[in-house]
C-alpha cells in the first residue's frame, strides 16, 4: 500500500524537533478529527509565515516588513541597544517588560566546537549601527552558558573601540530559586554578583 495523505502528514510532522513518530501520529489524528477546520487554519498560517516573513535590514529580526515594527517605533529609546542571539530571545526580553530600547539579533552565538565563528553572526550589522553615534549602551542579553560567555567576551573586545557602554545581563539566583535545589554553578555566580542591601 503506498503512503496516503495521512502517512505523509505524519512523516512531515515527525521532522519537527521533539516530535517523534508517536506524537506525529497523535497530532495527525487530532487534526483529522477536528471539525473546526484546524488543518486549513494551520496550513494557512504556515504559508503566511513562509511568504511574509523576512529579516529586518536594521535589527536582523524576523518580521513581516523591513524596517520592522520595533525599529520604526519612535517611542522606543534609541540610545540603548539590546543584543540577543535569536528572535525568540527578543520575545523573552519583551515579555519581561523592563527594556524599552532597540534590539539587534545575532542569529546564533559563537561556538568554535560547532564551527560557528564571528562571520556567521550578524556582528558586522551590529557594528554598522554604532556608526550613527546615537547608541550609548549595548546590553548583551545572551545566555549564561559557554557560547554566551564566548560571544560576550568577543563582542566586548570588538565594541571597545566605540564610545558605548557595554553591559551584560546580571547572573545569580533565578526568581523563586531555592538555594537547596540550585546547581552549584548558579550559586557560585550568585555569590560573585552579591550586592549591598
Amino acid at each position: 500500500m503506498k503512503p496516503g495523505p495521512l502517512d505523509r502528514l505524519i512523516h512531515v510532522l515527525s521532522k519537527l524537533p521533539g516530535i517523534g513518530e508517536k506524537t506525529a501520529t497523535r497530532l495527525s489524528f487530532f487534526l483529522l478529527r477536528s471539525k473546526t477546520g484546524l488543518s486549513e487554519e494551520l496550513a494557512q498560517a504556515l504559508l503566511d509565515v513562509s511568504r511574509e516573513m523576512r529579516l529586518c535590514e536594521t535589527c536582523c529580526n524576523v518580521a513581516s516588513k523591513s524596517p520592522c515594527d520595533f525599529c520604526l517605533d519612535t517611542k522606543r529609546d534609541r540610545a540603548t541597544l539590546c543584543v540577543v542571539a535569536q528572535p525568540q530571545d527578543l520575545k523573552a526580553v519583551e515579555k519581561s517588560g523592563v527594556f524599552h530600547g532597540h534590539y539587534h539579533i545575532l542569529h546564533g552565538l559563537l561556538s568554535p566546537l560547532d564551527g560557528i565563528g564571528p562571520e556567521d553572526l550578524r556582528i558586522a550589522e551590529l557594528v554598522q549601527r554604532l556608526h550613527s553615534g546615537e547608541i550609548r549602551e549595548v546590553v548583551l542579553a545572551v545566555s549564561a552558558n559557554i557560547e554566551g560567555d564566548t560571544t560576550a567576551l568577543y563582542l566586548g573586545r570588538v565594541l571597545q573601540d566605540y564610545p558605548v557602554r557595554v553591559t551584560r545581563l546580571g547572573q545569580g539566583l533565578p526568581a523563586g530559586g531555592e538555594l537547596e535545589y540550585l546547581d552549584s554553578f548558579t550559586v557560585g555566580r550568585a555569590f560573585e554578583s552579591r550586592r549591598e542591601l
Copy 2:
C-alpha cells in the same frame, strides 16, 4: 503592535494537544529557520489530509477512498474481523503483523461518564456487516481499561444473536515486563489468564 504571521502560527500550533505556547514558539522558529521549504511541505500535507481523507463506508476507517485499501484487499481473510476503537489502534494492530483479516473502527469506546453511548459509536455499521454471513470471528481489540471492558461487554451481548465467535485480546504481562515493576492489576490479570506450559 497587531499579531503578525509568526504570532498567528504560534497561536494555531498551541491549539494542538500537548503543545503549549513555549513548544509552539520553538516549533514556529524552527519552521521559520528551515531552508528546505518545510513550512510549505507541512501546509500541503495538511491541505491534502483535509481535502482527501474521508470515512470508508464499510469499515469506518479514515482513508483517501471508500471502500478503503484494507476493505478492497482480496488477500485479507474475510472471515475474521478485528474491532478497534480508533484508526490509530488499527495501525498498532497492523504493526504487530499477526492479524490478516478485516477491520472495523468504532470511533470511540462506551463511556457513560463522558456521555458516550452505543449510538455514538459505529456499532450499527458493525452489526450490518455480520448480515453477509461471511464473518466467523470478531476479535475485540479494545484497550484493557474501564471503557474497553464496558464496550467489550456490550458488544458481546449484541453479537450473541449472530453465529460468530467473539474474542477479546489476551491480557497479561507486556513483552519485557518485569514483575517487580508492574502494577498489581496487571499481575492479577496475568495470574487469571495463566496457561499450561
